[in-house]
């Protein structure tokens, strides 16, 4: 197995993600890596700081709504001689990768955190265990968690080409709510400030946003905070939300259910503030404070 395609769609910090994909491909023994970049007309193109990739073909979809799994599969269906594919694990790839794999009678390997040739490690049971899988197939269809693949950025002479693509499947999906803010992206942020049930209200949760802004951090949340309506779902961190690994994670009023810990346990430094000294998050936190979270936020803001 030597020919690899990395698949990428518009996201924040694309160059970081492409480096992670190239790193994963080289760990699989790739000798040649090509990229497929699927974007809409209005999305800016890739910046040419790319490592270890021969060529990137940009497929420009003539539409304005978000890219769908069907469209990614249509693009891939039009590329002859596709071999192994590697992409980032996110909700879009969670849609298309298993579907594409099934149509090709391939068992995909998703949420991979380590690779050595044809063996892959992935977390199971909410990260309580790690399984090692050996791929017995000629092709590999892989999604990775990018924070586990950190490669040095070597500027290389990647060539680029553009293809206009009119998909048969037009998207009829509308985004009901999304947070438009200038704060860093949760998945790739170096610092994350996160809030849980302990914030007590949607109004109080605004303090988390303010502190995040001051620290130039992304905003995260526990499932409880999202369920209670303090913040929208795209901020949820955990087994079923986003899995993150920032350098610094600060949790306010989060007790630390196992499902939440699954989303943060690979962070650099975990800091927890909770009024309950028995909160499970203190078992994981590097630095913990038992007391009033509002006092801490107030002290950090002034």
């Amino acid at each position: 197995m030597s020919k690899f395609h990395i698949i990428i769609t518009p996201q924040t910090n694309e160059s970081q993600l492409i480096n992670a994909l190239a790193c994963a491909a080289s760990k699989m023994g790739a000798t040649a890596i090509d990229g497929i970049y699927i974007k809409r007309l209005q999305d800016p193109g890739l910046k040419p700081i790319l490592s270890n990739i021969n060529h990137i073909t940009t497929y420009e979809i003539s539409q304005s709504t978000s890219i769908t799994a069907q469209q990614v599969m249509e693009v891939l269906g039009n590329i002859p001689a596709l071999d192994s594919l590697i992409t980032i694990s996110n909700t879009l790839s969670k849609e298309w990768l298993p579907a594409f794999a099934a149509l090709n009678n391939i068992m995909p390997i998703t949420d991979v955190i380590d690779i050595k040739n044809q063996t892959f490690k992935r977390p199971i049971f909410a990260g309580n265990l790690i399984e090692t899988l050996e791929n017995n197939q000629e092709r590999a269809l892989i999604s990775i968690r990018p924070q586990f693949f950190k490669a040095p950025t070597n500027p290389s002479n990647t060539s680029f080409s553009n293809v206009s693509f009119s998909p048969k499947n037009t998207s009829s999906e509308s985004l009901l709510s999304t947070d438009i803010s200038d704060l860093p992206d949760l998945l790739t942020a170096k610092k994350v400030v996160s809030g849980g049930r302990g914030l007590g209200s949607k109004d109080n949760f605004v303090k988390i946003h303010q502190l995040a802004k001051q620290l130039n951090a992304a905003v995260g949340a526990s499932r409880a905070a999202v369920d209670l309506g303090y913040i929208s779902n795209e901020h949820q961190v955990g087994q079923t939300g986003k899995i993150i690994a920032p350098d610094i994670y600060i949790a306010f009023g989060i007790s630390g259910a196992i499902q939440h810990l699954a989303g943060i346990k690979d962070s650099g430094i975990i800091i927890a503030v909770n009024k309950d000294p028995d909160a499970p998050i203190f078992e994981f936190a590097d630095i913990g404070y038992v007391g009033d979270l509002f006092e801490v936020i107030h002290a950090l803001m002034t």
Binding site: P98, L133, N136, K265, I270, D286
Partner: protein, 247 residues
Amino acid sequence: MKILVCLKKTLDYNVNPQIAPDQQSIVETGVKMSTNPFCEIALEAAIQLHENNPTIETHALCIGPESHQDILKRALAMGAHHAHLLKCEHPLSTLEKAQLLKTYIENHPYDLVLMGKQSIDQDHNHIPQMLGALLNWDTGLFCSKIMLNNDHLTVEREIDEGLCQRNIMLPCILSSDLRLNQPRFISLPKIIQAKNKPVAIIQADSLLKGTGPKLTRTKLELPPARKKGTTTNDLSEFLSQLKEVLK
């Protein structure tokens, strides 16, 4: 209208999984097993749909050995009308399960297939997508709201960018997210009544094409442990530590 809800039997969510001596499998004997929580949410969604529309019939299905009938009896107690076990003695991959379900559904037509978005043991998040592709049905994943209109459904889905909404024509496949509903409590009399309800058993082994394992699990291990840090209730001490980290 016929709804099929697919259920997986997993380790109970309160059980801490233990690695068996072979270093490749999980200890399952003597451990509490339950319906995968995401699957139970899918079942609750189907029951709510048929409670509002008596022409809807809900069928629960599970793939596995005969001992998996217990979660089907539980589904009947919860409110499913019929239960089917696709009997298979050996473990199957997500792809094999999707292929098996495709064959089953081609022979037993349904209008809507509801499934959990992932199982809490393997955390795969594969089968609804795979089944949708194999049947060439429209697929709505990670649903946190399902509304049934005349000939179509409107679903709200939780994706990385936020909450999105779309209309889906039947037949289709939907996968449930945690915020879709809170599964109902099942009373003891209902559990006792359901003990006598039948579970149809279909031999699944004959429906499977044997091709050898595409993936082999060679090892199971614990993740590197995080070491416990320091906890204080002295605010000024904590703040000075925190400010040091944030430098």
